[in-house]
Symmetry: C2
Subunit: 353 residues, 2 copies
């Protein structure tokens, strides 16, 4: 039983045993074309006897030109990317949509770690969804078009022929900011998502803002600046609660202290609230906080005022676009809209200081 040189049976072997030609056996297996019941049963029986487990996917995909695999490119390592519930929800959406054509997801990391997206070049992909992927986007796209592999980008500009699943980041953030202004806030701080692939943390300078490579962060920043042009900002190194905590401490220990903080994600917002609590500030009386995403942050006791984005729907839209591209259609870009959720973390600023 432990001979290492066991060769698996091929369809031809099965056909030979069933007493028919390989072509007929193929027909019997795939269900395409007319095959008599008798023959089909003979083929199936032969297959069972030989322990034939069905056609080899490699050969099949060569011939068919399809592999049934859709790539998902994230530019982080797995553990980082999936700490963000938004990414998980989007992935889930993609997974759901492409499940309908029985495709599976290949996880590709194009990130800092590997200098070359090896797998993008060598994986048998039918199509690809790019999650943001700021930096490597251009190179990845040109690689894919050269290979003739259709792609969809979620939040990121990829040029004319690549459909994009976008979000109204700027408008949505502006709505949140206007909400704060209407409440009477004037000194507002902003916690910004990473602006560059190096994920450097620190104060937001005009220089950094200008050289940003990450569309999402830039757009949301613009939305906040539309209403509060002079708001101070701190750039976080990721969308994590801890980062929000650090950024929150920094913003809240400045003088004069802001009366409200716009965080570019709910996780950051939760961290900001934690920072406020640390400093003995009450939310929303002493500090109003607005988030973004609308994910439920485990362990946050507040009903966060935030912009709820349809993450799962975005993923599904991306998946559906893929399905349509594989069917030969040319889906167009879609922009999703966030909805403002007024929670319990925003209130008018305290009059007395």
């Amino acid at each position: 039983m432990d001979g290492d040189t066991i060769t698996r049976p091929t369809l031809s072997d099965v056909a030979a045993r069933a007493g028919c030609s390989p072509s007929t056996a193929s027909l019997a297996f795939s269900g395409t074309g007319p095959v008599s019941d008798a023959t089909r049963e003979k083929v199936l029986a032969a297959a069972k006897e030989l322990h034939y487990a069905g056609p080899d996917p490699r050969a099949r995909s060569l011939r068919r030109g399809r592999s049934g695999i859709v790539g998902v490119v994230i530019d982080d390592r797995v553990s980082e990317a999936f700490r963000d519930p938004v990414n998980i929800a989007m992935l889930d959406g993609v997974s759901e949509a492409i499940g309908e054509i029985d495709a599976a997801l290949l996880l590709l990391t194009a990130g800092a770690g590997s200098d070359k997206p090896v797998s993008l070049e060598t994986a048998p992909l039918d199509a690809v969804v790019l999650f943001g992927c700021s930096t490597t986007l251009e190179r990845s796209i040109s690689m894919l078009t050269q290979r003739g592999i259709p792609a969809v980008v979620i939040e990121g500009d990829a040029g004319e022929n690549v459909p994009e699943i976008a979000l109204d980041n700027r408008e949505a953030t502006r709505i949140g900011a206007e909400h704060l202004r209407e409440l009477g806030h004037e000194r507002v701080g902003i916690v910004v998502l990473p602006l560059a692939p190096d994920r450097a943390r620190g104060a937001l300078t005009e220089e950094r803002a200008a050289s940003s490579a990450v569309a999402t962060a830039t757009e949301r920043l613009a939305g906040a600046r539309d209403v509060f042009p002079d708001a101070a900002g701190v750039v976080a190194s990721g969308s994590y609660l801890d980062e929000g905590l650090i950024a929150g401490r920094e913003l809240l220990t400045a003088t004069p202290r802001p009366t409200a903080i716009i965080a570019q994600s709910d996780l950051l917002a939760a961290g900001v609230i934690r920072a406020a609590e640390e400093l003995g500030l009450h939310v929303p009386e002493d500090l109003s906080v607005v988030g973004f995403d609308g994910v439920r942050v485990d362990g946050l006791d507040y009903d966060l005022t935030t912009l709820v984005q349809p993450s799962q729907a975005k993923g599904r839209a991306a998946g559906e676009a893929i399905v349509r591209m594989l069917a030969g259609e040319h889906p167009t870009s879609v922009t999703f809209t966030s909805t403002f959720h007024r929670g319990a973390t925003t209130a008018p600023p305290r009059v007395a200081d």
Copy 2:
């Protein structure tokens, strides 16, 4: 430019243009075998002119017998599976380990949704890592052995020839339970991970415990029962904070109320603590809580007493086992050990009631 029938160039086309045979062109591309610098450059130049993007992965994998793809089977939908940080850490470990052979991860869901693991049968896999996968395990394994695809199972018994990455669930839980007993606890409640694929919630009966299909939950339960044979239990429907909250409420409103709760995961433990807070109980004075996993639960203010398991290492071990199997070796099963972390959520029970 918009003709739909553009056929991509093949290696033969490139060879023809470079004035050599396909075999030589192949050699030039893959780096195998001796090729003169002049020829190599001609081939590369021709490739560039024709916009040839490198060998077709499908053809290559057919010939080579390898696809560079490792499957990861989870029996949930993506959004569920990745809510648990342990799974993410393990996935990250796998990803890291197999990255060394330039393989990528194919996400396969074998779960309740699809009645048949279509992709397991039809994906061009070199090897597979099964994450738990209680129910479908047997069928998946037999399918894979039939196909001749090596597999590794993380926490789940898969038979003799399949290496397993295990954890000392029972012993570790017992250590946590003994810690509680040493502190003087006698009335202990247990929050149990799902015991069956249907993820039914509810009180733990002997019947349910006996018919459990999930090794992890059963083993941890046994460890707790080793010390507290009569402890009451509640089965959660997943490893989430919310589930811990529900289970915690149930256990803590029983009479007599337990003085300590053993939760089978940190997320569940965090929920239990939340439930205690709701009821005005102080942790650890009124209630001791022990978790499992050692993940940092965002938003939990307590330093949780827990059993820290090396999730990422488990994943990496699985990945390394895969790498070795692909190299023709026969790695053996590995059992990892959890370490007890005494945090601030356990204390002696209050004497006065």
